[in-house]
Symmetry: C2
Subunit: 170 residues, 2 copies
DNA sequence: GCCAACTTTCACAAAATTGTGAATCAAGCG
DNA sequence: CGCTTGATTCACAATTTTGTGAAAGTTGGC
């Protein structure tokens, strides 16, 4: 239970990792700059970064940062905060990033379901395509219903983990 | 329980819907042509389309189709079949599209988890960023474990639905 | 109310993506 | 075997996307 805090950050390696992480996000469909911003926030010890700091670490213009954070804010992947008595925004990941992300994405599932129902009506409810599409809709509705349960299970799981072994090396 | 089969397909409306559906996929991060191909297959009564038919309905070149189906095949969103005694490929969605898609995506979850663990090591396991990243990894591992249960529940749910009310006009 | 510190917007240039046509390749069938 | 149908690859052109610099907007604080 020692020798874990004070290892100095290898900024070079970290930056490289972050860029790779961003590339994975890009491969998953995200635009590049938002992906880089997200990755930068992920690997930051302070937990938050200002627009200027993002521009500095990513070697990008304020304009590019502005666009990226606007997008990330819209899709609820980051929070924009402003400390009272300052006029610079600071950006941070949500606590329990992925969990809160999924929770917010909930609406998207419903959207797809509704969209597919609409499509089923258009192709004809009784047709093979209609059948396929309402099955699809039902699938989305199903996972929409199941999701909260899984997320709650995660919350419990996390709590358990926190109780035993507060140190949690490895 | 009548008047549902023989409504003629309004091809114009269907095509329009399919293009809209494709646009949604694009918004979700998919490249345009694969999205259009997927949508076209989704709304097809026959359940399958040849490359030539895809080119025709989408007004796209064989080359574009070839690229799109290669991609879709790779990410396991469609199947490519060839009937014996023919040399043209026919493409179709999997049965229970989204379910099989999720099952195949399973590996991706593990990939992200592993990637995040690696990152946690790089930034330092004891650091705030390291904590954030191994928490993230754990989250992915968790849903990776939970997923099969949910998918099985879906299978049961679907079976139930099939048993009662085979017609399902609701 | 004005100044300064930040952020956003806009027009544009650079760069990456996409789809095309033409050529090449593969394979069933006579 | 060669012919014919169909799929794939390649170089290229067109479109779209991205990021930049500069100008304009906001908003705290004096």
């Amino acid at each position: 239970m020692d020798a874990m805090n004070d290892t100095p950050r290898d900024e070079r390696a970290i930056r490289e990792y972050a860029e790779g992480f961003a590339s994975n996000l890009v491969a998953a469909g995200m635009a590049r700059m938002p992906a880089r911003v997200f990755a930068a926030l992920l690997v930051t010890d302070g937990g938050s970064l200002t627009a200027a700091e993002l521009a500095e670490t990513l070697q990008a213009s304020p304009a590019a940062i502005s666009g990226a954070v606007r997008y990330l804010t819209q899709v609820d992947m980051i929070r924009r905060d402003r400390e009272p008595g300052s006029r610079r925004d600071v950006f941070r990941l949500y606590d329990d990033i992925w969990d809160s992300l999924l929770r917010r994405r909930d609406a998207i599932l419903r959207m797809w379901a509704a969209n597919l129902r609409e499509g089923a009506a258009i192709v004809g409810a009784g047709s093979p395509a209609g059948k396929r599409m309402s099955d699809s809709a039902e699938y989305f509705e199903f996972v929409h219903r199941e999701l909260p349960g899984v997320l709650d299970a995660w919350a419990r799981h996390k709590e358990d983990r926190a109780k035993k072994g507060l140190d949690a090396a490895q």
